[in-house]
Amino acid sequence: MHEISVLENLREIIEAQAQEQHFSNVARVTLAIGKLSCVDPEALRFGFAAVMKDTVAERAELIIMEIPALGFCGQCKGQTTMELLYDPCAYCGAPLTEIVQGRDLRIVDLLVS
């Protein structure tokens, strides 16, 4: 359950922001999770309340946006959508040479007061 480590990093970022930006309450936390990132949105949701307990984000709503995955095909020099890490090119069937988008895991924004 490495999602707990990810949530602990999120808590650190929120706490640092609370100091810098002077807020005492977070109403909403928005994360962007690539479809091929190695975290499970359900596990994040499951651990969120526990990790945020006793912090400014204790009552925050967690929004998770799923970022679609895109791969680059070296053969047809184009981009194709991906569902799995080993999806071949949807046009020519060749193995994809690069994952262009969909591996990241980012905190997008915070709605604070």
């Binding site: 359950m1 490495h2 707990i4 480590s5 990810v6 990093n9 999120l10 650190e12 970022i13 922001q17 930006q21 807020f23 109403a27 928005t30 994360l31 962007a32 999770i33 190695c38 975290v39 949105p41 967690l62 929004i63 998770i64 946006m65 799923e66 970022i67 679609p68 799995l84 890490l85 080993y86 193995p95 990241d104 895991l105 980012r106 905190i107 997008v108 924004d109 915070l110 709605l111 604070v112 007061s113």
Partner: protein, 264 residues
Amino acid sequence: MCGICGCGEPAGQTKLKPVTGRPRYVFNPASGYHTGIPAAELNSSGQKRLLNIDQDLFAKNDIYAAQNRSFFRQHQILVLNLLSSPGAGKTTLLVETIKRMQDRIAIAVIEGDQHTERDAERIRVAGVKALQINTGRLCHLEADMIGKAVTQLNIEDRSLLFIENIGNLVCPSAFDLGESYKVVILSVTEGDDKPLKYPDMFHAADLLIINKTDLLPYVDFDVANCEEFARRVNPNIKIIRLSSTNHENFKAWTDWLSAGIETD
């Protein structure tokens, strides 16, 4: 103004599938991500502020990993991050490797396990420096643990450092430790379809060792299938079949290490 959600950003091109029920999420490749809440709606409340953060949640680990990598490069230490499910034979492989290579190069080992000092003790018996990290509830090693362990171990320049990660084919793949190579070890007593079941791990690895080949006559494991699955997930993966107990093809692994030491 964005035509999809009415916010101040230019229109997004790819509509996101929101995982929760909230509508109006937009992915905009030009400006990054934004949640599509109209700016006016936020300001009118006068109380709530929307702070754009846009930070990677693995950034902290990646910073420590970069520090480790630069330290290892500076001191010419070749670092192998060994990954597998529990029981694939990582420690036995290591003990055999140490026996064959310790006359040629200084070796140190960082052992990761949730509990006990047992693996580090096995390694020390083999005659090299070993430090055990007990992660407790944690299912993987992180880069800052490696940084601290390296300081404690006082590793010599131009040595070979093995990091035996927690036995787990999922979580450790996500954490860069600053290693030179990731080596995934799969034993033939596991399923040959593991690369397809745990693609993140095999996608991240540089080398796959198919271990315990001495047991092939007794198990239903198709090596060719396994290799095909691994290459499907990672076309660049190098594969070595070997046995740490009857030493079949073990030299291919030590040769691969020797080549790494020379180019390091």
